[in-house]
Subunit: 133 residues, 2 copies
């Protein structure tokens, strides 16, 4: 069983440069939905289209959120932090933000002993969204 | 004037390894307050003490939030995301989360043209917290 959180997944990012963390928050509920990464192209396309576009580090290319699943994020507001190195999006989320079918990727609570427990209900079956593997 | 966001501040992190993004959200208001980084030591100390502890990449050491300013974060809930590589804290924030004296580090809204505007009120004068420089 993998440790939670898994610090072996920390930096470095296989040489990826020029990407910043982008947090998506549900504009209605305030729920933090996910955190992904944006390069400058993803940022510009997000501003221009009003749809959240990220940079997939694992695939090494733009990730237009919802392109496969239909679970798009319509951007309501964009903020940057004091150091201008983190992005916060307020979004209207269609369907489930998480590829595992949960409303938010943060569906697990960790207790003080470090034990993670699923605390949310799955909204959709990932197999119906992405196809069975 | 620096670009907003500033993608030149993206990866790599000067060789820092094993740190994960940690988002702090106000447990009462739902406001996203800041994003910082945790290494495993910071994570374990956060769980053990119930106070948010981060890893400062710029200083290369543990950052016990509020140690200088008194603006501590008492941890109400800890979550991890689906990939176990991002941490979400619900916190009770004392004072201002941002070192610039704002409640949240995300005090600037960016319009579709890329122009950033301060949208919040400053809560405290940083000079009174950190001393004049």
């Amino acid at each position: 069983m993998n440790p939670v959180p898994n610090f072996s997944k920390g930096q470095p990012f296989d040489g990826t440069t020029g990407v910043l963390p982008a947090i998506a928050q549900d504009a209605q509920t305030g729920r933090v939905l996910m955190m992904a990464w944006m390069d400058e192209t993803a940022w510009q396309e997000t501003l221009a289209t009003g749809q959240a576009v990220y940079f997939s580090r694992s695939r090494g290319k733009l990730w237009r959120k919802g392109e496969t699943s239909g679970h798009r994020q319509s951007v309501v507001e964009v903020r940057v932090d004091c150091d201008a190195d983190t992005i916060l999006l307020q979004v209207q989320q269609t369907g489930a933000a998480c590829h595992e079918g949960f409303a938010s990727c943060f569906f697990r609570v960790v207790d003080p002993n470090g034990t993670a427990t699923i605390a949310d209900e799955r909204l959709v079956d990932p197999a119906t969204v992405y196809g069975k593997k």
